[in-house]
């Protein structure tokens, strides 16, 4: 696929070398200090991701879905949300989760198989992961409809307003559910931002299997704007997402953002990308690394220096250690706990099944 070029159809504010681009209708006006905070997030997230990948290799996780290369897309968009906004991830949004204050160890329970999506029980506006592609986009639209019904949209005091943002991939855009989410969002002018990380692949399938034209253009046909942004450019992602979130909060309805990026790693730790793409291609994308780019820029403006980088590196190291240790010590569940988790009002039959299970386990203990 030919690379998109900066311009009205492709928002880029920081080029791959780390230079601020020409003024654009989407400008990023935050301070370099804020950008440094975002860079710190990206560095920590990359470490978290690497550590989880390593834990999977050691057999401590059943699976991991690396986000390597998508840090700017995730941090830039997550940092465009604020307190009352609702964040609805797919399954690769570990970086978004981090920004939403989710403990990485809670994420690991899912991939270690000790739990499902344990973070849901702690206060945070971060929805559980969804593994059936596209389903969560409808949930997000419903949640956004609720914000509207609750009077949290279009208030004159902008601080009383909120919106939802939902994440999904390029592959997901082919699912009926995602397109129905577009229909419902448009029909109810739901305050929702559809954030599509086009990382060029759905497992082995290049985006060209899903669409012959840029994905952001899908939105116009449903009656709301679509924007393609350089997903490896934190400034651009943040600027565009802030604009779209504010638009939604104001009551102007949905936006589709296509963050054009690349899944540098495997689809998951079970995947083998050498089967379907070239090393050259991977290499070309590594040259557009979102972290390098922002680091170069901030080093250039002297917003950060080597000692700042060293201290984040140290922080990353201790995060990794916490994850390593925490992972192996995640509490092991027992089946008996689950019998009362499927229903608010557990049917008698499940209590009987639990009793059977416990009696069976007990007999087993006794006899062998």
């Amino acid at each position: 696929m030919i690379d998109p070029v900066p311009g009205p159809d492709f928002v880029q504010l920081l080029d791959p070398t780390g230079s601020r681009a020409e003024p654009h209708r989407f400008g990023y006006s935050g301070s370099d200090a804020e950008l440094a905070a975002d860079l710190r997030d990206m560095l920590l997230i990359r470490r978290l991701d690497a550590e989880a990948t390593a834990l999977q290799r050691k057999g401590e996780l059943g699976l991991w879905a690396p986000l390597l290369g998508q840090e700017a897309a995730q941090v830039g968009s997550a940092r465009a949300t604020r307190g009352a906004d609702l964040i609805v991830p797919s399954y690769r949004e570990h970086g978004v989760a981090w920004c939403a204050g989710i403990d990485p160890l809670d994420l690991l329970t899912t991939f270690r198989g000790t739990g499902m999506t344990d973070w849901a029980s702690r206060p945070a506006n971060f929805h559980p992961y969804s593994f059936v592609i596209g389903t969560q986009t409808l949930h997000a639209v419903g949640m956004a409809m609720a914000l509207r019904l609750d009077g949290l949209v279009g208030n004159s005091d902008p601080n009383r307003n909120a919106a939802a943002i939902v994440y999904f991939g390029d592959g997901a855009t082919s699912q009926g559910d995602v397109n129905e989410a577009f229909v419902f969002a448009a029909s109810f002018a739901a305050p929702v931002v559809f954030f599509c990380q086009n990382n060029q692949y759905a497992i082995s399938e290049p985006t060209s299997v899903q669409t012959k034209i840029p994905l952001y253009q899908r939105a116009a046909g449903f009656g709301f704007p679509g924007v393609r942004v350089d997903g490896n450019d934190l400034l651009a992602v943040r600027a565009v997402t802030e604009w779209a979130m504010e638009r939604a909060r104001r009551g102007d309805g949905p936006t589709l953002i296509e963050a054009y990026t690349y899944r540098v790693g495997a689809h998951t730790t079970s995947d083998d990308p050498t089967k379907y793409r070239s090393a050259d291609e991977e290499q070309a994308w590594r040259a557009k690394d979102p972290i390098t780019r922002l680091r170069n820029y901030l080093l250039g403006t002297s917003a950060i220096d080597q000692s700042w980088l060293d201290s984040v590196e140290a922080e990353a190291e201790s995060l990794a250690e916490r994850i390593r240790l925490g992972c192996v010590n995640l509490p092991e569940p027992k089946l008996e706990e689950f019998f009362t988790q499927a229903y608010a009002d557990t049917p008698d039959a499940l209590f009987s099944q639990r009793a059977e299970h416990l009696a069976y386990e007990a007999s087993f203990e006794a006899t062998r």
């Binding site: 739990g115 849901a120 029980s121 409808l138 419903g142 559910d177 419902f184 608010a344």
Partner: protein, 324 residues
Amino acid sequence: MTTLTLAKALNAGLRQALADDPKVLLFGEDIGALGGVFRVTEGLQAEFGNNRVIDAPLAESGIVGTAIGLALRGYRPVVEIQFDGFVFPAFDQLVSQVSRLRFRTAGALSVPLVVRIPYGGGIGAIEHHGESPEAYFAHTPGLKVVTCASAADGYWMLQQAISSDDPVIFLEPKRRYQDKAEVDFSQFPAPLHSARLARPGTDATLLAYGPMVRTCLEAAAVAATEGHQLEVLDLRTLAPLDDAAIFASVRRTGRAIVVHEAAGTLGMGAEIAARIQAECFYELAAPTLRVTAYDLPYPPSKVEQSFLPDLDRVLDAVDRSMNW
């Protein structure tokens, strides 16, 4: 005490639920100005406004999926699926999402959603308008499934389903919408997940639900003239089943006949028969018999009367059971 059709009783139940709890919302196709194709939501949009009774775009997965989002934000959406045959586009959201969000989050999230589905055949309709999809849902852990057979149950069970914190598939026997019965608005209703002894008897138990309850009561009336006292149990709750009521009745009579409109294979009768043989093994005078539709797609309406169980096929099964 008022005499109401089932459709009007359901309408009254919805009105009461909307009045009682501002978080209750109705959501579906044609439920607003039209009042639903069966008029079950008639007048409700005029009364409660179009933020409470909402016409949805024509997409069942979208309806159920967005209703999940509404439910997660504290609403209690009552979704209408226009006909039984049109619930399948929403099947993924029901089976993979509605049924599992609580489990997935270790109880942290609730999806208090009611999915109303007019179901069953016998009304001379075209394809997809006479389906009985209950077994698909009853096989799905995390869902509750109930069905009413009378106006009183329609009124009360619907409100109980709406106030349940668990997602409930609420099946409405469309061929009985115009059946009238007394509804006592002051009576304290039986628990949602309990069966109802519709007619006591001693010789055999007819286990039925929804549209077939009336058929079984008619059969029992005829059987009585022939000297057989049939007990009729209106199951009401299909998931969970009211095992205690089922076993108690079958132990009393020694004979069980399950009657439903869905295909026999893996219909509710399969589960009920399997449970009865396991629990009442030494107490049965005959195997549990099943009177069901044949294992075919729903046929054209001119033959639906012989496709679906009717009074005579029920009595035929009673005879077979008695002569076992």
